[in-house]
C-alpha cells in the first residue's frame, strides 16, 4: 500500500552506472586484502592510482584495505556500492567468501576486476600471475641451487603459507610437482605467513631431523624466509639453499648476503597497470578481451577473461637486471651498511 522502501533511488543508481559508458568519469574502487604484506600499500596502490590517472584523469580511485578479514572486506564492498563506484578492483581476502558481495555489485551494474586472486562469482576480468607457475619456479630454482645435492633422499624442510589463503595451495602444488621424486619433503608445516612462527617451525624441523640431515629449506614467501634464515643461522646452516617469494627488499639483501638463495619476482608494475587498464576499459564499456586474452574458470563456474602474467626467478646473478632495472629498489636501498661488502662482490654498485 505504501510502496517499497528506497524504490526511488535504487533504480536510479543502476541506470546511472549502465549509462556511464564512454563518459570517462566516475570512480573505481580498489580493495586490497591485508596489510602484513608490504606490496599492497607500497606498490600496488600507488602504481594503480597513477595508471588510472594517466588513462582517465577524471576518474577517482576509492581505496580500502581489509586487514586480513573477509568480513571487513564484505563490508567494504557494501560501502563502495553505496558510494556509487562503477568498477571494483578487488584482491579478495577469501576468494569464496566474497562471492555474495561480488554478486551484489554485479546486480547493481558494477563491473568487477579480480586482482591477483581469482574471486568467485560473476567477475568481469582477472589479472594475476600464474600462482602454480610461481610454485614451480620455486621448485626448479631450488633444484638448480642444490645441483648435485638434489637426490631422492635429500631432506627438504617445507614451510608453507596460511592455508586460509587460496594461493597457498597453488604455490604448494606447483612446488611439490616440480620437485617430486627429486628430493624428499621431510618436514612440512604451515608458517601462517608469519616470520616468528616460521622461525620456530624451522628450529623444530632442524632439531627433529638433525642439522646434518637437511639439504634445503623451502619457504613459501620472503617474510617467512627471514625468520627461517635466522633459525638456520643459529644452527649454523646458513649456507643451505632457502627459497622465497615476493622480492621483498630484505629478501634481496639476504640473497646478496648469501643467506637466501632465490625469490620470485612478480613485477607489481605490469600487474597494477594491467588492472588499471582493465578497470578503465570496463568503466568506458570497452571490450577487455584484447588485454585479457586467456580465460580462467573460477570455483563458482564463471568463465573469466584473464590476463596471466609470468613471474621471474631472482637469484644473486640477476638482481641487477630485474628488481634494480625495474626501479623497484635502487642499489643504495639494497646495499646498506652490512650488505655493502657483499654487494661489491656480487657486482652491485
Amino acid at each position: 500500500a505504501c510502496g517499497k522502501a528506497g524504490s526511488s533511488n535504487s533504480s536510479s543508481s543502476t541506470s546511472s552506472a549502465s549509462a556511464a559508458g564512454g563518459s570517462g568519469s566516475g570512480s573505481i574502487a580498489l580493495l586490497l586484502p591485508d596489510n602484513v604484506t608490504t606490496r599492497y600499500e607500497k606498490f600496488d596502490k600507488p602504481l594503480f592510482e597513477a595508471k588510472v590517472k594517466e588513462l582517465a584523469p577524471n576518474v577517482t580511485v576509492e581505496y580500502a584495505n581489509a586487514a586480513g578479514s573477509a568480513q571487513t572486506q564484505a563490508q567494504q564492498v557494501t560501502t563502495m556500492i553505496n558510494k556509487g563506484v562503477k568498477v571494483i578492483v578487488i584482491s579478495s581476502q577469501d576468494a569464496a567468501a566474497i562471492k555474495s558481495s561480488i554478486q551484489a555489485a554485479h546486480d547493481k551494474g558494477i563491473k568487477v576486476v579480480a586482482y591477483d586472486r581469482l574471486a568467485q562469482g560473476p567477475v568481469d576480468a582477472y589479472i594475476s600471475f600464474d600462482n602454480y607457475k610461481v610454485g614451480q619456479l620455486q621448485g626448479q630454482g631450488l633444484l638448480q641451487v642444490m645441483g648435485a645435492k638434489a637426490t631422492p633422499s635429500a631432506n627438504v624442510v617445507e614451510i608453507d603459507g596460511d592455508s586460509a589463503d587460496p594461493n597457498a595451495a597453488d604455490f604448494k602444488n606447483g612446488f611439490t610437482d616440480a620437485v617430486k621424486g627429486k628430493v624428499k619433503i621431510a618436514y612440512d608445516a604451515s608458517g601462517l605467513w608469519k616470520p616468528d612462527v616460521a622461525a620456530q617451525k624451522a628450529t623444530a624441523a632442524i632439531n627433529q631431523l638433525g642439522k646434518n640431515n637437511i639439504a634445503a629449506f623451502y619457504s613459501a614467501n620472503d617474510g617467512m624466509a627471514g625468520g627461517i634464515a635466522a633459525s638456520m643461522k643459529n644452527a649454523g646452516l646458513s649456507s643451505l639453499p632457502l627459497t622465497g617469494q615476493d622480492a621483498q627488499l630484505d629478501a634481496i639483501q639476504r640473497i646478496v648476503a648469501g643467506t637466501q638463495s632465490l625469490t620470485i619476482y612478480k613485477a607489481y608494475k605490469p600487474e597494477a597497470e594491467g588492472a588499471a587498464q582493465l578497470a578503465v576499459d570496463l568503466l568506458n564499456g570497452t571490450d577487455v578481451k584484447s588485454v585479457a586474452t586467456a580465460t580462467k574458470t573460477n570455483a563458482s563456474g564463471n568463465q573469466v577473461p584473464s590476463d596471466l602474467l609470468t613471474p621471474v626467478l631472482v637469484t644473486k646473478s640477476n638482481i641487477k637486471s630485474t628488481v634494480v632495472q625495474d626501479g623497484l629498489y635502487s642499489v643504495s636501498d639494497i646495499c646498506t651498511g652490512e650488505f655493502a661488502a657483499a654487494c661489491k662482490s656480487a657486482g652491485l654498485q
Binding site: 510502496g3 600499500e41 557494501t78 563458482s300
Partner: protein, 425 residues
C-alpha cells in the same frame, strides 16, 4: 499476590512516610524540577549514556563533513545492518561482564558455529532451519562447558575461555579443513539474517509500524508502573518525565524508520537484534534470574549466603554467551554468505568487548545494561564504516580507531570520576 511471610510483629507499622529522610534532596514537581535535577546530575557526573550519545553525534558529524557519503540513507542503513553481528556477540558479553568475568571464546565460537552450520546444511544437506537450531544448541553446549569448568572446577574464566579461544578455532579449521570456505545459499535462515530480507518485505509501512509499537509500548509500561506505585504510596515517576522519555523514544524510532525507508527498509536482522535486546533487558531487570546475575556480579559470597546457587548462575550465563556467540556467527556468516577460515577473527572479540564497555557496562561486574551493547556497537560500526568511506590507509585507520575509542571513553570516565569524588558510586 505475594507469597511472602515476614516475621515482623503485627503492631501497626508507623506511617511509611516517616522513613523518607529530610536530608534527601527530592526533585520538585514539573519540568522545572526535572531540569534542576538534570543540572545537579550533570555537575555530579551522573550522566548515564549521555557522553556516549554525544560521542556518537560527534563521530557522525565528523564523518558527515569529511566523507561525502556518510550521512546518506544507504550508508546509515549499512551501519545499522553490519552492526548486528558484533552487536549480538556483545549482548552475550554483557551478561558475562555483569558477572565480573570475561569470555574470550566468543569470537572462536562464532566462527565455529558458522562452520558447523555450513557443513551441516551445505555439505550434509540437513534442513537449513534444523541446521540453525543445531548450531545454536552447539553454542549453548559450548558455553555451558566453559561455565561448568569455571564454576565447578574453579579454573579462572579467563583461562577457560582462552583455552576455548584456541581450541574452538582449531576445531573450526579442522571442520572446514577439507573444503576451506563454504558458500551459503541465500535461503531460509541465511536469507532472513542476510542483507536482502526486510521487515514486511521492505514496505514503507513496516518501519513506521515498528516505530509506533515501540513508542506505545514505552508509554504504556511507564504509565502502568506509575499507577501501581502511586497506589502503593511509594515514590513514582512524574507524568512530565514519562512524557519526555516517550517523546525521546518516538523521535529516535521514527527518524530511524524514515532513514531506513529511504534506503531499502528495515533489515530483518536489525529487527531480530532489537527484539533480543528487549528480551534480554527484560530478563536482566525484571526477573529474579537477572537479579541473581547482578548479585553474583556484585558480591559472590553475599549471593552464596543468600542461597543463590552461584555455579548455576555462572553456567547459565556462559551458556547465554555461547548462544549469542553462535547466533552472532550465523549473522556474520549470512552477511558474507559463507563460512570461512577467518570466521573466528580475534578482532571480532575485541570489538564486541569494546562495544559492551563503551556502552557503559562495567568490567568489574554488577553494573551495566544490555542497551550498552547497542550504543557501543553503534559507535564502533560507525567508526569502521566511516573510515572505510574515507578510504584511508590502514595504518591511519588503526590509529584513528584507537584514538576515537579512547576519546569516547575518556568523556565517560571523566564524568564517572566527578561522580566518584562526590560519592562512593
Amino acid at each position: 499476590m505475594s507469597t511472602e511471610k515476614t516475621t515482623t510483629d503485627q503492631t501497626p507499622p508507623p506511617a511509611v512516610e516517616q522513613a523518607i529522610d529530610p536530608r534527601l534532596l527530592v526533585r520538585e514537581e514539573g519540568f522545572k524540577g526535572y531540569w534542576t535535577e538534570f543540572k545537579r546530575k550533570l555537575r555530579g557526573g551522573e550522566l548515564g549514556s549521555l557522553p556516549v550519545i554525544i560521542g556518537l553525534i560527534i563521530i557522525w558529524a565528523i564523518f558527515g563533513v569529511k566523507g561525502t557519503n556518510f550521512l546518506t540513507a544507504d550508508n546509515i542503513s549499512a551501519v545499522l545492518y553490519y552492526m548486528c553481528g558484533i552487536g549480538t556477540l556483545a549482548i552475550g558479553l554483557v551478561f558475562v561482564l555483569l558477572l565480573g568475568e570475561i569470555d574470550l571464546a566468543v569470537g572462536s565460537v562464532s566462527g565455529l558455529a558458522a562452520a558447523i552450520f555450513a557443513v551441516l546444511s551445505v555439505s550434509h544437506g540437513v534442513n537449513i532451519w534444523l541446521a540453525a537450531v543445531l548450531t545454536l544448541i552447539t553454542g549453548i553446549a559450548i558455553g555451558s562447558l566453559h561455565g561448568w569448568i569455571f564454576a565447578k572446577i574453579g579454573v579462572p574464566a579467563f583461562v577457560v575461555t582462552l583455552a576455548g579461544f584456541l581450541g574452538w578455532q582449531g576445531l573450526m579449521l579442522w571442520i572446514l579443513g577439507s573444503t576451506g570456505t563454504i558458500n551459503l545459499p541465500d535461503t531460509g535462515v541465511i536469507h532472513l539474517l542476510g542483507g536482502n530480507s526486510f521487515f514486511m518485505g521492505g514496505d514503507i509501512a513496516g518501519g513506521y509500524i515498528l516505530a509506533i509499537v515501540a513508542t506505545v509500548a514505552v508509554a504504556l509500561s511507564q504509565l502502568n508502573e506509575q499507577r501501581r506505585r502511586r497506589a502503593a504510596k511509594v515514590l513514582f515517576r512524574p507524568t512530565s518525565e514519562i512524557a519526555l522519555r516517550t517523546a525521546l523514544v518516538a523521535v529516535v524510532s521514527f527518524l530511524a524508520a524514515y532513514v531506513l525507508n529511504q534506503s531499502k527498509g528495515v533489515p530483518n536482522v536489525l529487527v531480530l537484534f532489537l527484539i533480543l535486546l528487549i528480551v534480554c533487558d527484560f530478563v536482566l531487570r525484571r526477573t529474579s534470574y537477572g537479579r541473581k546475575v547482578f548479585a553474583v556480579g556484585g558480591n559472590i559470597e553475599a549471593s552464596r549466603r543468600a542461597g543463590i546457587s552461584v555455579p548455576m548462575i555462572r553456567i547459565s550465563v556462559y551458556a547465554i554467551s555461547g548462544f549469542f556467540a553462535a547466533l552472532g556467527g550465523l549473522i556474520i556468516a549470512a552477511q558474507i554468505s559463507s563460512a570461512n577460515q577467518g570466521g573466528s577473527d580475534p578482532n571480532n572479540l575485541m570489538l564486541a568487548i569494546a562495544s559492551a564497555v563503551i556502552g557503559g557496562t562495567s568490567l568489574f561486574g554488577g553494573r551495566g545494561r544490555v542497551w550498552s551493547a547497542l550504543l557501543g556497537v553503534l559507535v564502533i560500526q560507525s567508526i569502521k564504516t566511516g573510515l572505510d568511506n574515507l578510504g584511508l590507509q590502514l595504518s591511519i585507520q588503526y590509529m584513528i580507531t584507537g584514538a576515537v575509542l579512547l576519546a569516547a571513553v575518556i568523556i565517560d570516565s571523566l564524568s564517572r570520576q566527578t561522580q566518584k569524588s562526590s560519592g562512593r558510586a
